[in-house]
Symmetry: C2
Subunit: 151 residues, 2 copies
Amino acid sequence: MESRIERLCVERGVKMTGQRRVIARVLSDTEDHPDVEELYRRATRLDSHISIATVYRTVRLFEEKGILERHDFGGTRARYEPSEHGHHHHLIDIETGKVIEFQDAEHEDLMRVVASRLGFELVSLRLELFGRKQKSAPRGRAAPPARKPSK
Amino acid sequence: MESRIERLCVERGVKMTGQRRVIARVLSDTEDHPDVEELYRRATRLDSHISIATVYRTVRLFEEKGILERHDFGGTRARYEPSEHGHHHHLIDIETGKVIEFQDAEHEDLMRVVASRLGFELVSLRLELFGRKQKSAPRGRAAPPARKPSK
DNA sequence: ATAGGTGCAAAGCATTTGCCGCGGT
DNA sequence: ACCGCGGCAAATGCTTTGCACCTAT
């Protein structure tokens, strides 16, 4: 069945192929912010005949078409999410690397004013918070996910 | 004479060498946000016996010591600035790559609240605006579009 | 004296690309 | 049929590192 992202691709005149369909499906099912490596892993799970070069090319194409957004959360590789999640910002858990999304309606307007005051027209902005979980209410400590220290 | 950054290094127990002194001086004179390549260029102008590997190592060391801040303004290489410029954010001119600094006092407090509401303790944040110069030039001398695509 | 810094070239990593056979429209 | 796509491996671009020498403390 045609995935959400695949529909978007067709609308925007992207030629669909087997590999792109698989990647589109993976992305449609995505709730997080995977990097290319992870997308590749998920894609090959559905169809093992996909090379990582294709994932790179596709992710790039989708980004140009405005279907995907690329982020750089301070780690070493770029991470992606479907654009259709609406405008929001990110809070990155510095211990686990997990990303939480949040919105702040007035923020953008405020920044538009700031930019304007400096003589600029605001085109886009990046707002990211880095924090760690509050230890205030220590409940059943679930095992903290191991995570390479970013380096 | 001992440069501002060199003094900082000594305070923080960084062993000073000829190369580090040169790099410290370059950084002390820095008003912009150069990348390693550019720092290397400036450093070798003062003393041609510095290798780019040393610049990379030094910049890394200084960052760990809190003397330098590393930024990634969307380009391909990391860019640096002395920490002692105080807290501020950046507006990047998407046509020229030039970076303008601005402050927004209440912003951080606001973000602390946002983080807290999500159950996180705010450690740091990144706020970057991307914009282009306003063309609505009031009268005569409208500055012609700059075309230098770098820093 | 000696722990640590430096230069050089090679290695590492994420990402891109050349070549060329193959597949979608 | 035709143009673009995908696989593979080689190339790239930034950054790190191994090794052998050198220097600040």
